[in-house]
Symmetry: C2
Subunit: 219 residues, 2 copies
């Protein structure tokens, strides 16, 4: 399958490399037509990998993954273009972290809105599915790296078929579908984006980003 990855950072590279290891084609997209980091990644990743602008990538991908920094996601998607995104599933992994006030970051969209909802409103013909945004990139593509995979992932989105398609991709990453909790529509992205404040503090308290939340239920 053809995937577009918007964003050339560690999340984009990690997801991209995993997709390629699974035999998918990946075009990574960035702001500029020339991007040294991305081109080094392409050189290492082999023939299934390529690089282009946000729009090149969005046109190429059957599924588009937003792995940009949350503060610039809307600009990146604008560069990708409404037309290239129309009708497609967009997996939104970004969190609207605001580092402008120092550490720990705050959220630039919060409480009465979420980045996931902002994207869905801006691109009504795109099927936005928010997931993977509550994990370090290592755990996204290797759930077994933490507690034998016995922990949970959350998924939010308005379109049931799109969520089912994303669930298939997650299963290829090693996620047990039964461990992916469907929170409901894209409005529930407010819940997962607001997990970041405690995620960041747990990272500090535990001294590692190799952890995840498991939801434990009563009898």
């Amino acid at each position: 399958m053809k995937f577009a990855i918007l964003g050339t950072g560690i999340v984009g590279q990690t997801i991209g490399s995993k997709l390629i290891s699974l035999g998918h084609q990946v075009k990574m997209g960035g702001r500029e037509a020339v991007n040294t980091t991305a081109q080094e990644w392409v050189a290492g990743a082999g023939v299934l990998a390529s690089y282009g602008t946000f729009q090149d990538a969005a046109c190429f991908g059957e599924i588009v993954i937003n792995a940009t920094a949350g503060g610039v996601s809307l600009q990146a998607l604008q560069a990708a273009s409404t037309q290239a995104l129309a009708g497609k599933v967009l997996i939104d992994i970004a969190n609207p972290l605001d580092f402008s006030q120092g550490m720990p970051p705050t959220l630039s969209v919060v409480n009465t809105d979420s980045l996931g909802e902002q994207i869905q409103r801006a691109y009504p013909q795109t099927k936005v599915v928010k997931t993977l945004n509550t994990l370090s990139s290592k755990v996204m593509v290797n759930p077994g790296a933490v507690g034998g995979g016995e922990h949970n992932l959350f998924i939010s989105g308005n379109d049931a078929a799109a969520k089912a398609q994303v669930l298939d991709v997650l299963a290829q990453f090693g996620w047990d579908k039964a461990r992916v909790i469907d929170l409901g529509d894209i409005g529930t992205a407010r819940g997962t984006e607001q997990l970041l404040p405690i995620w960041i503090r747990l990272w500090g308290a535990l001294g590692t980003d190799l952890f995840n939340f498991r939801i434990v239920r009563g009898a």
Copy 2:
């Protein structure tokens, strides 16, 4: 030991009954000197239980527990008085949930501040410890009701001795101290208060409030 519980709702009653079952004295405090709900609770709870105003309770308690609704906590503490709270440990269980826009609630304090911090700033001579605010009241006093107690509680506060004293109370409730994660100073209450948006959505998705978060770590 003598405990004050500010707030006469289900959280206050559940915590109060647990403390009495452990042999502690509890004075529940409310806005009015006469409160039918609280007086019914006192009548059922026995000789270790009593009721009074917020100030009566705060004067009585060696440890004060804020179990009021988050939106009225600051008014309740003002009624309790700075003098009655000075030098004491205040266990803050409240969440600043705002139901004015309908369900699900939003947070009236969020992101760049928290209710826990607001209380600590308003009462600098009081040792505010935020904990238990990420759980339904049933689980607060009976961690074993969920997954055999194999899940986590969070604690935030500026004073290490106060946190240790609260940990002793939590241990009496049945919490394994090793499962209580110290996130750091009271500023980390932003993390636990912002767990509420996903907590509420998980309640909906799971169809029960008998659940909790377990932090699963890598090897």
